[in-house]
Each structure stands twice: as structure tokens, then as C-alpha cells.
């Protein structure tokens, strides 16, 4: 292991993190995340895999501070989201781009505004308001949409788009936000293989400015995609890390063990 | 009809603000009356009074219709009304809240005003001879008129009390407040309330007009006389409209004697034969009763 003093600050560092959702869970109280310790270096591209309900979305939520840990410590881009001041949290968050599993786009809004919402972390209040009346930075939004293949939909109502088109709007939002860390929760689940490949490439892309490669933490169900685009695969199962390997080293047996059906049935 | 005229001469009630501000410069006399019986005739009557006073005193007169007793008293208190024709109780309230307000005059009938108690046939109540007879109203369903009405609430309340009936405790349930003399008749007629009390004048005019079923509702008692309505004037009038204006106004009211057809019609609208002088002391008994009943504080 390298000397901790010379190692760069990790992009994400989780230590013994546990998340137990309140209420009568279905697991007899088993927490959604159970003592996760994980360290991701800047520029690393990590695929998060695991069966449905393993805790992938919860882990991504921890990283942007929408989920609060029951115990343990998280450090994201040098800040602990659970302990940051609200100003600090906002500064942190504007450096993180998230694609939510349910997309969370604003349906009645036109596509251009949903994409421009990626700017809200950096735009001032008035600029944000003005853009709602008459969209600003339209060319940038159009460019981002073109990169995901739906430039023609710029002025449509977002909820009129097909499932895959909506997913790409969410991705375009992250592209205009241009963050240091991307947290993407099954960002290509509604896309066909070819477009999925394209989009993964975009997410992994080198940042335009003088920064190094973007750090990427992406939950995926498609192992091939994971291996093709990521450096490292982290497998979750029942809230625990059960696999953490360089992408190339994941074999068929590991996959099968990871996804094995629970004895529950 | 009456209210049509209202809007003509006051340039629509809504336009009161700007118009009033201008007229105030010109020194308009603002008159009003409590929203008592048959309110749309009220407007007609007050318009006529306005015209009479304008001619008599050579000032502009504006009639301000106000739908609520308490609001009217408040407006008099803020100096937004100059001459108001109040009921006994409201007049006392207004004077107590406005230092220097003067009693100007009253109608001849106001010296000896009366209320009537009416009952539904099925209540099985017999007409009574004197106040003490009202004791038979214990345990009946009873309604007053409006809360601030002298003839529909204060005095009936007083006479009930005299007969040993406490309206708050001795009736069947809480007493109702129908809101107006007309509604008191309707509600007794419908049988909802067995007994009600109202202004004698309204009762007479409704029975004469035949708009009440006297088979179903009948009068069981007419109260002794008491002083009721009167005009009071704002203390700020002299300052605003000229020294001695209050005295002129009082005289103008008293001069209303039916000597020409218009005056006669005006008097008739008031249901009076003549306008006579009035003193604050005429209403001392009202004040006293009001205090006893907690209606004046």
C-alpha cells in the first residue's frame, strides 16, 4: 500500500458507512448499507454492480449528501457532505454531477431548461430566473443534446419524450454541468447497446479544461459495459462490498456469485 | 328605485374614495343611517333627505350606505360620517365613542317607540297583557333580530328580563339572531322559532301589506314605549363646514314640517308626522339598559 502521506486526497472515501432506513424494512432490520469502506482516487472510473436492492443507489446518494449515514464517515472531494455547512455542501454539490435512477427531470419543462438546470450550481439567482423566461446558453445545451443524439428535441416538453430520450436529457444535464465527479445510477438502462456505449464514453470523457480525467462512479447492470468503460468493478450484495477488482480481472464465476438469487424464495 | 338613485348622486358607491376626497375639499355633508328595516327603501329615503338638506343648507350632501351597525359607528368615530340617523342603542354607542357628538333631533314617533312579540300559532301561546306576562316565553325557541338593534334586541331583552326570563339561560336553547326584522317574521312563520321580537313599525307595515300569514303568526304582546331613533352630528362639522353649522343643521331638521309636498313625502318615508327636538338625556334609560345587559361597555 502506498504511503498515505504522499497519496493524493481520494475523490471518494467511505469509512465503515452504515445506512439503515427507518421504518419496518423488509429485511428484518438489515441496513441498506452495512459497514462500507471504499476509496476512490481522482480520475478513477468505478462500476458499481450488484443485484437489485443491494444498496447501489443508497451508496451513490451518500456521496452527494442526499442520504445521511446512520454511522461511519464519508469524505467526498475533500468534504464530508453530512457535516458540511449548507454553503459548503452547495459548493461541493455543484462539483458533483448526478444522474438519478428515476431521472427526476421536470416533466412540464422544456428540454432546454432541464439541461440548463445543470448550470444552477454556478448561475446566480437572476440568471436562473432570466433563463426560464428566455433560455440562456442555448448553444451549449444544444451541443450537449447533440452529443447524446437528441439535439432535435431541444424545445419539446420533457415528458413527451421517449424513455431513452429522457434518460439522455438527464445525461446532457450532467454534460453541461461539467463536474469533477459523476455519480450515475444506471444511466443507460433505457438505451440500446449502441447508444449506451456512446453515452458511457461521454461520461468517462476527459474534462474539457485543465483538470485530469473525471472521476466516475456508475452503477450498472451490464457487466460488459462495465468492463469496457471502467477501470474497476465494485460489487455490492445485501449492503456489503463483496467484490472489488480491476475490471479486467472479473471472471464469470465472480459474476454468478454476485447475482446469485437469495434463499428468500 | 332607491338604490338606483344612490349610484347616480354619489357617483357609485365604489367611487367613494376619489370622489369623497374631492368633495371633502368642497365641504360635502356626509349623511348615513343605520341599516335597519327594508334597506333599499332606506337609500331612497336618505337620498331624499340629502336633497332636502342640500337645498336648505346650501352644501353638497353625500349619502353613504353602510350595511353594518358596528361599521357605521366606527365610521362615525373616525369622522367619516357627519350626520347619522341611529337607533337608540347605536346612537348611544356612537356618542360614547365620539366625544362631542351632539344629539340633533328625533321623529315624533321615536319618543314612544315600541317592539312587538310575535308567536307561531302552534306554540300555544296566548296574547299577554303586561310585561310580567312574558314569563310564559320561558322554554320557548326565541329569536331576536340584529344584534345591535334597539327594537329587535335591546328592549325585548330588557322586557324579558323584567318578566324574569333570562334570554341566555331560560329559553329553549340559545336565542337566535335572525339578522333583520323581516327575517324574524319569516323564521317565526316557518316554525323554526316559536317566538320572535321586532320593531313595531315593520310588523305593522308587513301585516298591512299582507306579506305575512297572520293565521300562522300572531302578535302576542306590544311593549311599553321607549325612546329609539335619533340623529346625531359629528363634532368636527363646525370646523369643517363652518362655525355654527351644527346649529343650522339641527334647525334644518326641525324645520322639516311637511309644509310642501316634497317635505311631506320625506316625512312619510320616515313614517313620522314631525321632527322634534331631542336631548342626550332622552336615551339615558337605553344607556342604562345597555350597560346592564352588557351591550354597552
Amino acid at each position: 500500500m502506498p504511503d498515505p502521506r504522499t497519496e493524493p486526497t481520494p475523490a471518494v472515501s467511505l469509512q465503515g458507512l452504515t445506512v439503515a432506513y427507518g421504518g419496518h424494512g423488509a429485511h428484518g432490520g438489515r441496513p441498506a448499507l452495512d459497514g462500507i469502506t471504499l476509496r476512490i482516487q481522482p480520475g478513477e472510473r468505478v462500476a458499481l454492480v450488484g443485484p437489485s436492492g443491494a444498496g447501489k443507489s443508497t451508496l451513490l446518494g451518500l456521496c452527494n449528501g442526499t442520504v445521511t449515514p446512520t454511522s461511519g464517515r464519508a469524505q467526498v472531494l475533500g468534504t464530508d457532505p453530512a457535516r458540511a455547512s449548507s454553503r459548503g455542501l452547495r459548493a461541493l454539490r455543484s462539483r458533483i454531477g448526478s444522474v438519478h435512477q428515476h431521472l427526476n427531470l421536470v416533466g412540464p419543462l422544456r428540454v432546454v431548461h432541464n439541461v440548463n438546470a445543470g448550470h444552477l450550481g454556478s448561475w446566480g439567482r437572476w440568471r436562473a430566473l432570466r433563463s426560464l423566461v428566455r433560455p440562456l446558453q442555448v448553444d451549449e445545451a444544444r451541443g450537449a443534446l447533440a452529443r447524446v443524439g437528441i439535439a432535435g428535441h431541444l424545445h419539446q416538453r420533457t415528458d413527451r419524450l421517449s424513455g431513452g430520450e429522457q434518460q439522455r436529457v438527464a445525461l446532457a444535464r450532467v454534460l453541461v454541468q461539467d463536474p469533477d465527479l459523476v455519480l450515475a445510477d444506471e444511466p443507460v438502462s433505457s438505451l440500446d447497446p449502441t447508444r449506451a456505449d456512446e453515452v458511457m464514453g461521454l461520461l468517462c470523457g476527459v474534462l474539457s479544461r485543465d483538470r485530469p480525467r473525471r472521476t466516475l462512479l456508475v452503477s450498472l447492470h451490464d457487466f460488459d459495459l462495465a468492463v469496457r468503460h471502467c477501470d474497476r468493478v465494485v460489487g455490492l450484495r445485501q449492503g456489503r462490498v463483496v467484490l472489488d477488482l480491476p475490471a479486467a480481472d472479473v471472471d464469470q464465476q465472480a459474476r454468478e456469485r454476485l447475482y446469485e438469487l437469495e434463499s428468500e424464495r | 328605485s332607491g338604490c338606483g338613485d344612490t349610484s347616480d348622486s354619489s357617483d357609485s358607491p365604489g367611487a367613494g374614495g376619489a370622489a369623497a376626497a374631492e368633495e371633502q375639499e368642497a365641504g360635502a355633508l356626509r349623511i348615513s343611517a343605520i341599516p335597519d328595516t327594508d334597506p333599499s327603501d332606506l337609500a331612497e329615503r336618505e337620498e331624499a333627505m340629502g336633497a332636502y338638506l342640500a337645498a336648505e343648507l346650501g352644501v353638497e350632501v353625500e349619502y353613504v350606505p353602510v350595511s353594518d351597525y358596528a361599521a357605521s359607528v366606527s365610521l362615525f368615530g373616525t369622522g367619516d360620517l357627519d350626520l347619522v340617523f341611529y337607533g337608540g342603542l347605536t346612537g348611544v354607542q356612537a356618542r360614547l365613542r365620539t366625544e362631542g357628538a351632539a344629539v340633533l333631533a328625533q321623529r315624533d314617533i321615536d319618543e314612544r317607540f315600541r317592539s312587538v312579540f310575535i308567536a307561531h300559532r302552534d306554540a300555544g301561546l296566548e296574547p299577554v297583557e303586561d310585561v310580567a306576562g312574558l314569563a310564559e316565553l320561558a322554554d320557548t325557541r326565541f329569536t331576536f333580530g340584529s344584534e345591535s338593534s334597539t327594537s329587535g334586541r335591546l328592549m325585548p331583552s330588557y322586557f324579558l328580563d323584567q318578566a324574569g326570563v333570562d334570554p341566555a339561560a331560560d329559553l329553549d336553547g340559545e336565542p337566535g339572531f335572525s339578522g333583520s326584522h323581516d327575517l324574524t317574521i319569516d323564521l317565526v312563520e316557518s316554525g323554526s322559532y316559536e317566538v320572535g321580537a321586532l320593531n313595531e313599525q315593520v310588523w305593522r307595515s308587513r301585516t298591512e301589506a299582507g306579506t305575512v300569514d297572520t293565521e300562522t303568526v300572531r302578535e302576542i304582546f306590544t311593549t311599553p314605549e321607549y325612546a329609539d331613533y335619533h340623529w346625531i352630528g359629528s363634532p368636527a362639522m363646525d370646523e369643517r363646514l363652518g362655525e355654527g353649522f351644527t346649529a343650522d343643521l339641527r334647525q334644518a331638521l326641525l324645520d322639516l314640517d311637511g309644509s310642501d309636498p316634497e317635505e311631506a313625502a320625506l316625512l312619510e318615508a320616515y313614517g313620522a308626522e314631525a321632527i322634534i327636538p331631542a336631548e342626550a338625556s332622552d336615551h339615558a334609560r337605553i344607556e342604562e339598559i345597555g350597560r346592564t345587559l352588557g351591550l354597552i361597555r
Binding site: 427526476n104 412540464p108 | 333599499s40 361599521a71 325557541r141 323581516d182 361597555r297
Partner: protein, 509 residues
């Protein structure tokens, strides 16, 4: 306090039924004389002028304050569990104070506001406008806060999670979703302002409500019906306009048109009324204000002291609870029938039923509470029962409309999906719409309950007690100290209902 539902003796007043029928028979003979119609036209103009200005102020103020008292604003998307106890407590306290401070303007009935403003500002159209704008604004703020809280969810959290400030996040993620509900409510407020009966007459401004009071207390049924039909008609126009706007689905010209028309109306109303703004700051006003405050303070107990206050509070609670429950249940049923735009599979029968239901709702809320009370008295003997029924009937019309529009504005995808799986309309409503609209229904139901708490007009005529009755008594006797005391009791009740409303909706969310 009597346990009045189990009261012994008869409750029904059979003798009054002919008069009930007679009253409705007068629908056939409304007063259509030219004189009267001219008067109504004039009154309509005046009423509309006040309503436009009052509503604009109320909605604008309500929007700003509504945002500031919403939980969404105070919670602001940050994970509260992790924050320090101090900052969490500060947030909670801030929200609570902001929220409760609105219970004061809200807890005071419009008629009381009018009287208070009158004693300070004197006779000016400003009083009418403010007497509408202040209490309506406070209620609008509360309702808007709840709409915002109900609308803020995934998309809002997502924007916050990418570093957006709460203002812009609200603009981008909540406003587009809440807009139909916000505008529905604004139109509803306008309708209410048109109906607001007492206020304008009190300030000597006339108006439709004033005319109605006159005709009603003079027992002139023909005129009463003409006025009610006028209100129904106005209500229908407002209703159509509002629903057209909401269903425009992004047609910008309709939104733009509405803004332009509203602005034009406001200017016309200002010109028509000519309120004297200088009054707000004059010395006379200051003097009268000091005098009023002097009168109002200190608060006093009514005759009978605490026990009277408590008893009246309980009676008020009882009656309003019965009224609220009846109205609430009936309104949800009506909302199911009355909601427009049920998309695919709306048979002609359903459409006709929907139209009929909407007119019924419009009609029931166009009859003012005093009229309902009188009608109830033709059917039942005096007491809290007819009072509760009168309040229930009136509130049914209002709640039914509010709920129907909630249903119309809802994201209907789950509902439509159930329809597409062969569910009959009623079942689809029960499974797909109710669970999502439940929070909003509840918040409207509780809000109407709160309004019923202070509905003063009805209780007097039906011979029932309660805080409304007490307050009215104090108002007409100028017992200002007592009024303050009673108002405080009402405010406490309002605040209580408000907190209950919030707690229940929070568990639903």
C-alpha cells in the same frame, strides 16, 4: 355544553318545509326588472374592482410568504439528520415561528378585519381592498406553502443535489409542477373575493354581496335569486377561464393573455375605485392606530371567563368538525365526478355527469352561508345541527371545487395506467388518484375546517353558540379587549389545525 346530536326532542322542523319549497320556487321568478338589473350591473362592477385588486395583492403576497413558510424552503434539501442539533433546532424554530405568525391574520374573520381597518383608515376603498387582501393573503400563503411542499420531491432534490440554491431549484423543479395548482387556487380566491359579502357593504362601498344582504334581510326572494344567479354566472366565467388556462398545456399566449387581462383589469379597477394611498401614512391614521391598539390591549376574557371561552371553543370545534367531515366526504365524491379531462374512455354519460356536478358545486358555493342557514332552519329546528349543515353545504361547494381541480392537475399517469389495465373508473380513482391526492385533499379539508371555525355569520341565526357568536357579540358591543381575547383563542385553534394538518401530511409524504 349539550351533546347536541343526541339531543332529546325533535330535530326536524316539518312546518317550515313549505317555506323551503317556496324559497326555491322563487328561482322561477327572479327579479328581472330593468331597475334592479341596472343596480346589479353597477354592483358587479364595484365588486369586481375590489375583487381584482384584493386578489392580486393576496396572491402576490401569498406567493412570497408561502415560499418563505414552506417546509421545503426551511428544510432546503439538506440532510437534516446530520446537521448539528443547534442548526436543526434553529431551522425548526424558524419554520414554526414563520408558520404560526400567519395564524394571526388568518384567524381574524374578514368582517373583523374590515372593522379594524375601518377604525384606522376611515372610509376609503383601500379598506375594502385590504380587508380582502390581508386575510386572503394569509390563507393563500398557507395553501401555497402546502402546495409547494406537496409538489417538491425528486426533481427538486435532484437539483439541490447538484448544488442549486433553493430559490432557483424551486423555480426550476417545483414551479412548473405546482403551477396548475397555484393558478387554480388563485382563481378560486378571485371567486371568493367576488362573493365576499360583508366587507364591502361595511365600508360603504356596496357591491353584490351588499345587495344580497339587503335583498335577503328584506326577504325579497326574487331579488335574492337574481343576485345568486349573477354570482353563479360570474363564478362560471372565472372557472372556465381558470381551467382553460391550466389546460393550455404550455400554450404561452393563454398565459400571456391572462397576465395582460389581469393587468388591464387591475388598472381599470384602480381608476374606478381611486384608493387614497396617502391615507396609509397620514398623521390621522397613526393617531387612530394608536387609539385602536390602546382599545385592543390588553386582551380580556368574555363574560363568564375561561369556562365560557373553553366551552365556546369546544362548541365551535364540535360544529365545525361535523360540518368539515360531511363536506369533506361529499367533496371527495364530487371531485371524482366533477374533475375534467379524464382523457381516454370518458363516455358521454360521464361527461354530462361531470358538467352537472360542476354546476352543482358552483351553485352550492354561490349561496352564501346566511342563506344556507336560513334554508337549514326551514328544515331543522334551531341549534348546532342546522348550523353545521349550513356550513357543510357551503363548504361542500368549495371543497368539491378545490378537490376536483387537484384531481385535474394531478400527474395522471398511474391512474391512466390502471384504466389501461381495465380498471373501472371508480376503482382507478381509488387506487390511482386518491393515494396521490390524499395529502392535498386533507390539507384543503383541514383548511376549510379552520375557516368554518371562525365562520361567524351562520351561528347567530341558528341559535347556536361558539367563538364566532361570541366574537360577533363583542364586535357589535365594541368590546375590543374581549375581541382580542376571542381572536387569540381562534388563532390558537387555527394554529393547532395548521400543525395537525402539517403533521398528518408529513406522515403521508
Amino acid at each position: 355544553m349539550s351533546s347536541w346530536l343526541a339531543e332529546d326532542g325533535p330535530l326536524v322542523n316539518t312546518r317550515g318545509w313549505p317555506m323551503f319549497v317556496e324559497f326555491f320556487a322563487a328561482t322561477l321568478t327572479p327579479d328581472l326588472s330593468a331597475d334592479f338589473l341596472a343596480r346589479i350591473a353597477e354592483a358587479t362592477l364595484t365588486t369586481l374592482s375590489f375583487a381584482v385588486l384584493g386578489t392580486i395583492l393576496a396572491v402576490a403576497g401569498g406567493l412570497v410568504v408561502g415560499v418563505l413558510i414552506s417546509e421545503t424552503w426551511w428544510a432546503a434539501g439538506s440532510p437534516s439528520r446530520g446537521r448539528s442539533l443547534a442548526s436543526r433546532t434553529a431551522r425548526q424554530a424558524g419554520w414554526l415561528v414563520a408558520r404560526l405568525s400567519l395564524a394571526l391574520p388568518r384567524g381574524i374573520h374578514e368582517a373583523v378585519w374590515a372593522l379594524l381597518l375601518l377604525s384606522v383608515l376611515g372610509r376609503d376603498p383601500l379598506v375594502g381592498v385590504l380587508a380582502i387582501a390581508i386575510p386572503f393573503g394569509a390563507i393563500t400563503a398557507k395553501v401555497y406553502a402546502e402546495i409547494i411542499d406537496e409538489s417538491a420531491s425528486g426533481p427538486f432534490e435532484a437539483l439541490r443535489a447538484s448544488g442549486a440554491r433553493r430559490g432557483p431549484a424551486l423555480l426550476y423543479a417545483v414551479a412548473p409542477i405546482a403551477l396548475p395548482d397555484l393558478s387554480s387556487y388563485a382563481f378560486y380566491r378571485f371567486e371568493c373575493a367576488v362573493r365576499s359579502a360583508v366587507i364591502l357593504g361595511m365600508v360603504g362601498a356596496g357591491g353584490l354581496g351588499f345587495e344580497l344582504v339587503l335583498s335577503f334581510s328584506g326577504s325579497r326572494h326574487g331579488e335574492v335569486w337574481t343576485l345568486i344567479f349573477t354570482m353563479v354566472l360570474l363564478g362560471a366565467v372565472v372557472d372556465r377561464w381558470g381551467s382553460g388556462l391550466r389546460r393550455a398545456g404550455g400554450r404561452r399566449w393563454r398565459t400571456g393573455g391572462t397576465v395582460l387581462i389581469t393587468a388591464a383589469l387591475a388598472i381599470a379597477a384602480l381608476a374606478h375605485l381611486g384608493p387614497d394611498l396617502s391615507r396609509l401614512f397620514s398623521d390621522r391614521t397613526a393617531g387612530l392606530f394608536v387609539g385602536l391598539v390602546d382599545d385592543l390591549l390588553p386582551p380580556a376574557l368574555p363574560d363568564g371567563g375561561w369556562s365560557r371561552l373553553l366551552e365556546d371553543s369546544l362548541e365551535t370545534l364540535q360544529m365545525s368538525l361535523v360540518a368539515g367531515s360531511i363536506a369533506g366526504v361529499a367533496a371527495v365524491g364530487a371531485a371524482f365526478v366533477a374533475a375534467r379531462g379524464r382523457g381516454t374512455g370518458a363516455s358521454p354519460v360521464r361527461r354530462i355527469a361531470g358538467t352537472a356536478a360542476r354546476w352543482l358545486l358552483l351553485f352550492t358555493r354561490s349561496l352564501p352561508p346566511p342563506v344556507w342557514a336560513l334554508l337549514a332552519l326551514f328544515l331543522f329546528l334551531p341549534g348546532p345541527l342546522p348550523g353545521a349543515l349550513a356550513l357543510a353545504a357551503y363548504n361542500f361547494g368549495i371543497l368539491g371545487r378545490l378537490c376536483a381541480e387537484v384531481v385535474e392537475n394531478l400527474d395522471r399517469r398511474s391512474h391512466d395506467h390502471l384504466i389501461a389495465a381495465g380498471a373501472p373508473p371508480f376503482s382507478a380513482f381509488a387506487y390511482g388518484t386518491l393515494p396521490q391526492a390524499g395529502g392535498r385533499f386533507l390539507s384543503y379539508g383541514l383548511y376549510r375546517w379552520e375557516v368554518a371555525l371562525r365562520e361567524t355569520v351562520v351561528v347567530g341565526v341558528v341559535g347556536a353558540g361558539g367563538l364566532g357568536r361570541l366574537l360577533e357579540d363583542q364586535r357589535v358591543t365594541f368590546d375590543y379587549g374581549g375581541m382580542t381575547g376571542t381572536i387569540l383563542a381562534l388563532v390558537v385553534l387555527s394554529a393547532l389545525v395548521d400543525l395537525i394538518s402539517n403533521a398528518v401530511r408529513r406522515t403521508l409524504r
